[in-house]
Symmetry: D2
Subunit: 227 residues, 4 copies
């Protein structure tokens, strides 16, 4: 009856303590899921396998991987910057997939929702490395979504930007009048998307009643991009 | 708590008796909304105003406008075919908007969700006129979404295809083995999207907890297009 | 040898005297084409057939249809406004197609390039009717492109905005400092696209050496949209 | 007069001896450019700087980076596969940019055209790692295009698929009747895009007469994707 039914679902959430982690934990728990939150970064190559092993049955994987975005000009963005972003946001994705997909395929049911970025859909200055990592994520989702569809495993992504969260929009940024002007000018919504809105939309995409999306990328960014 | 909260919402639904109408009525009602279903086509120029007048307060407008898609080759698709599609699917949209937006703007709150078609996002043979009408709808949504955002009125669209419904996929079509083969080949999901999945996703987009989308087009077509 | 080879091509251009018409005539002629420019609007239902009849062999049709964009709020945009835009920019497209495609299909070769608008790809305020008409055009191109591909007839579109031309950006607008600020802010290119750049790109899309695009929409708008 | 004018342009081309390299060298040379072809892979971290140093003035960089696409299921695609693709197709891009952008910025003029893949725009099975690398490229182009626009340096990409070339479509693949059927079924064009068409389109995007694109991605794939 409840629209978004996550009762009894075992949800594994990475980086549960930062970025969108706390609000995802809160909202998915409210909606009846059992959230297995994994703290800390996921850059260790062994981390994904041990996390999944520790979690046991995972019905839904929230692949939530984020680090602060460097703002280096492209003429200065070096291999180290890129390697850091890839180690934290890109390599972990296929590692998580290798760890969690076999049980989902076996059960003939599962979800992976990747928290990506709209910066992969529209260019911005001084985000060259970050966009690379985020673009890698979204293209992966598209491919893996198609590959996993026949197993009834849905792999999709949210491509967010201008969502209220302390990693990308800390209070001191939000209090800056220039930032408020930028919001009005660049974001048709005229405000940040709230963290709960983003989490609620994520939950709807993981609901049993909505199992029809295949490798789809959903912009959540107040209209900054819409396709 | 319920995820998708539509309690007490007054939802006006056009073409309530055909296409996605019955399932939308059912699902939105289950989720607590008061659905005011308007039967029949909306092609009469006066219909939208009298429908809204009859409905009274409309918190959410489900602009659900559909006619069977002609399959005329482009070399034969004539003015009459196009005019018919425009009268039923295109002109009614701004008429509905003129009728319903003033009350939404006054209350500082409202939703319009347009049930459009993914045929406006990806070309198919023998759909030239139909695509025109569907493309008009989606571009309208993008523009009006941006214009209405500052009033806290969200205008968005679902762009569907391969959704199980008797207008576009009647049982005799579904029973055809060639159609089943086409589904496997062209639709990554490997099956039709169920009508309830589509309706549930629509409901989530109309939920109070998710008020952040601006002129956005959501493909719902089993991965046939994903952006 | 010349890269863009249009020698001996018979190019029919509508609205040859306004908007992008003069520069298209100039550039296509420079590149060796024989341009048959048709002046005036194309809204008369009989106009497309008589134009094509008058033109004789048409190797390339430049479907160039434009009227000034109304800036009516959506709450006031009425049927008349929409009908005017449809009569000038939408209905003429299939009429032109019905007139010109038979000879192209018979020769097994032909091009239609539609000059559309990026306003169909990204929402703007007070453009609801105009976006509808422009959205109809682009969706039509996608569908007809796919349908005509097997006849070696390529149907594609340019989706332009912020291109220097007297219809949409008259000198007095360009001289306005506010417009210059808007350009810097909204258009990554930082300037208007020149009319010749647009025409030259159009010519390249019509060149014999590049016959591979099918129902494709090419944004030409200084990066305002990029896909 | 010539439409695509590349006379006197110094064009640096990577992987000149494989994939699209030979045809790019041929076509750009025919159009008057001085092509400095660099053979071999670009995976050595020092290679980009020494290539640019050897090339001297580079007006146009054709960032042409390709390796055969693995077809590993996502459940087996490991770190090594991804690292290999990243080392050959992803890391070289910013290294090339750091090497070549300073001279372009100083001259206030330059082009980088990246030969990317449409596999980053639409999902396919068994391409998870490859899509990641290709998605990283396209997102980078979008960001860097915006960042470099004010220097009159245009950075854009072709996203190709189904282009006739020996790396991705060797003769034995093309001779396979199943491949021919797949072409008819999946590619609206009904044939492979010819290598010369792709190269000619690339040349038009590098022409002095067309300097208006900013971080734009151009699908060249016979209509497999169109935006």
């Amino acid at each position: 009856m409840a629209g978004i039914d996550l009762k009894g679902k075992r949800v594994m959430l990475t980086q549960a303590d930062t970025f969108m982690g706390p609000v995802l934990q809160e909202v998915f728990t409210e909606l009846g899921a059992e959230v297995i939150g994994m703290g800390g970064p996921v850059n260790d190559p062994e981390a994904p396998a041990s996390m999944v092993s520790e979690a046991g049955q995972v019905d839904i994987l929230l692949a939530h991987l984020a680090v602060p975005a460097p703002q280096t000009p492209v003429t200065e963005a070096d291999d180290n910057e890129l390697a850091h972003l890839f180690e934290h946001m890109v390599y972990p994705l296929p590692r998580l997939a290798r760890a969690v997909l076999p049980q989902m395929i076996e059960r003939g049911s599962g979800r992976i929702l990747v928290f990506g970025s709209a910066s992969a859909l529209r260019g911005m200055k001084r985000t060259s490395s970050y966009s690379m990592a985020r673009g890698a994520q979204l293209a992966w989702v598209q491919a893996v979504g198609v590959e996993m569809a026949r197993h009834n495993v849905q792999v999709n992504a949210i491509a967010q930007n201008f969502v209220d969260n302390p990693t990308y929009f800390p209070q001191e940024v939000q209090d800056n009048p220039k930032f408020q002007e930028r919001l009005k000018r660049e974001v048709p919504l005229g405000r940040l998307v709230s963290a709960r809105e983003d989490a609620m939309f994520a939950a709807s995409l993981c609901s049993d009643g909505i199992s029809c999306f295949v490798g789809q990328v959903f912009p959540v960014c107040g209209g900054w991009v819409t396709r």
